[in-house]
């Protein structure tokens, strides 16, 4: 109780620094949060696209029922295949016509269906997926009843390159920001303590117990971290709500019923705890350094 009051008095007697500190932490965390935000949503877009990566196995028009069954069995039991679709010749033709609806007049006029039936395989996402797809494609090609195999080799490698680039970029940025946040927080706490040097010295001189002296500063550090986290998360949430309100339309036309996701709850708790930890660590190290001078005497 008394400690809490001392903490509040401490903060009140140095409002400007307190607000500057919390403000700084808020900004640092907001930036981190925004990145998380972008990263999470980008990831969800990417993983959606990722799902589209497939290996198409075109069957010969003269494939026998037996061959087809064998192929289906082989495909369904393969460890790299997540799921698969069978597209009959008729369905393929319909899709093709739908895709080129503007020119459908010409296509309809063709009078025969030039397209083959196919198995569309979804491949499990693993880091060396491209390699695996390539091997699988080579295997499939040899099998009886398979006309040809298509898997957008070029597109996949492009796409994987882009994902790696994006992740490295975001992680580097995140690391830079985390480092920055820790530096700023510990520096601010240090300033906060050194601005109260006189007070701490007098407490030491008047017989304050180490606990009595340190507790308000620990509490203050924790409070800095907590407030910074809460304010920045509130900021994030309002940006999130704003974006969702303003751009839901634009997002929906983006190709599917995609939500702009908010940072998931466990991650929110992690951020808050981490921020509190950083605040506490900041005050701990600063106090330790500061009191070290007096311990040596």
């Amino acid at each position: 109780m008394r400690t809490l009051k001392t903490t509040i008095t401490n903060i009140k007697s140095n409002k400007q620094l307190f607000f500057a500190s919390v403000g700084t932490i808020t900004i640092a965390l907001s930036i981190l949060g925004l990145f998380l935000f972008v990263y999470i949503n980008l990831n969800s877009v990417l993983s959606f696209w990722n799902d589209q990566v497939q290996l198409i196995v075109y069957l010969e028009d003269e494939v026998s029922m037996h061959e087809k069954k064998k192929l289906e069995k082989m495909v369904s039991s393969h460890s790299e295949v997540e799921s698969f679709d069978f597209v009959s010749r008729e369905k393929a033709w319909k899709n093709f016509q739908a895709m080129f609806s503007e020119k459908s007049a010409f296509l309809k006029g063709m009078g025969f269906n030039p397209l083959p039936a196919s198995f569309n395989l979804k491949i499990k996402p693993t880091p060396n997926r491209l390699e695996k797809i390539r091997t699988l494609a080579e295997q499939m090609k040899q099998l009886p009843g398979v006309e040809s195999v298509e898997y957008g080799e070029e597109w996949i490698s492009r796409f994987e390159g882009f994902i790696i680039l994006m992740r490295v970029f975001l992680l580097a940025l995140g690391a830079l920001l985390s480092l920055g946040a820790v530096l700023i927080i510990s520096n601010t706490v240090k300033l906060s303590i050194s601005s109260r040097k006189d007070e701490i010295e007098l407490m030491l001189l008047s017989g304050g117990t180490p606990g009595f002296i340190q507790l308000p500063f620990f509490l203050e550090g924790i409070l800095h971290g907590l407030l910074g986290a809460v304010v920045s998360l509130a900021l994030m949430k309002s940006i999130h709500l704003y974006v969702v309100n303003q751009f839901q339309g634009a997002i929906e036309t983006f190709g599917r019923s995609m939500d702009f996701q908010f940072i998931p709850f466990p991650l929110i708790m992690t951020i808050v705890m981490a921020s509190i930890l950083v605040g506490w660590l900041g005050s701990f190290f600063s106090l330790h350094q500061f009191l070290g001078v007096y311990k040596k005497l």
Partner: protein
């Protein structure tokens, strides 16, 4: 209460105290005097362990203060009230808060704090300025706040480092009486001063330092 045996203290290899030995009994009143830089403040700092000594023994209340660990120092310091030569008032607190602060540190309850702090300020004639900040006080008024703060805890030992340097002779002798009153109630007082008037007025033992050595002692029977 306070015992020193062959104590040496140097600052960066220049001696500040040389072979100091004396015993101050419980309830005694002792002046420490000597020219500027003689080592008076250093001597007091050893007693509340703000500085440590290089050789010898310093016992306060039976404890060897040189051996106390940092985490246990508060036990020693709670017994001691100090009037610092540079006052050490907190600029961001009013003078009432300054005096109350040391009571809060030892965990007194709220009512006691208000009453005792106010009483201590009244004793030095400053209760009408209780809500002023140190910067708004004259030099002598600040010094009296420092005195009030040292006395407010009813310490077993009172160390006063030049507590009347900025006070007029009349006030100085009032402050001396305040210390003598505390002494009568059982507080052991060590009073460092330059003032010949104070030394004459208070008929107490005197330790005279010069360049870190005890050069003279006046013993009162």
């Amino acid at each position: 209460m306070i015992q020193l045996y062959n104590v040496y203290k140097t600052y960066n290899n220049t001696p500040a105290l040389v072979d100091i030995s004396f015993i101050i009994k419980k309830g005694a009143f002792v002046f420490v005097t000597g020219p500027s830089g003689a080592g008076k403040s250093t001597l007091l700092k050893l007693l509340y362990r703000w500085e440590n000594y290089d050789r010898g023994q310093v016992l306060v209340n039976g404890t060897n203060v040189g051996k106390i660990k940092f985490n246990r120092l508060w036990k020693l310091r709670r017994k001691i009230g100090v009037v610092f030569q540079d006052y050490k008032l907190l600029q961001r607190k009013t003078i009432l808060e300054n005096v109350a602060f040391v009571l809060e540190i030892v965990g007194a309850d709220k009512k006691t704090i208000r009453f005792k702090a106010w009483e201590a300020l009244k004793n030095v004639g400053l209760s009408h300025k209780k809500d002023a900040y140190p910067m708004e006080l004259s030099g002598g008024e600040q010094q009296r706040v420092a005195i009030a703060r040292a006395l407010v805890n009813n310490p077993k030992i009172l160390l006063a480092d030049e507590p009347t340097g900025n006070l007029d002779p009349e006030l100085a002798s009032e402050i001396l009486h305040l210390f003598e009153q505390a002494n009568n109630e059982g507080t052991t007082v060590v009073f460092a001063t330059h003032s010949q008037i104070i030394l004459q007025e208070g008929n107490h033992a005197v330790i005279t330092l010069k360049q870190g050595k005890i050069v003279d002692t006046r013993v009162v029977v």
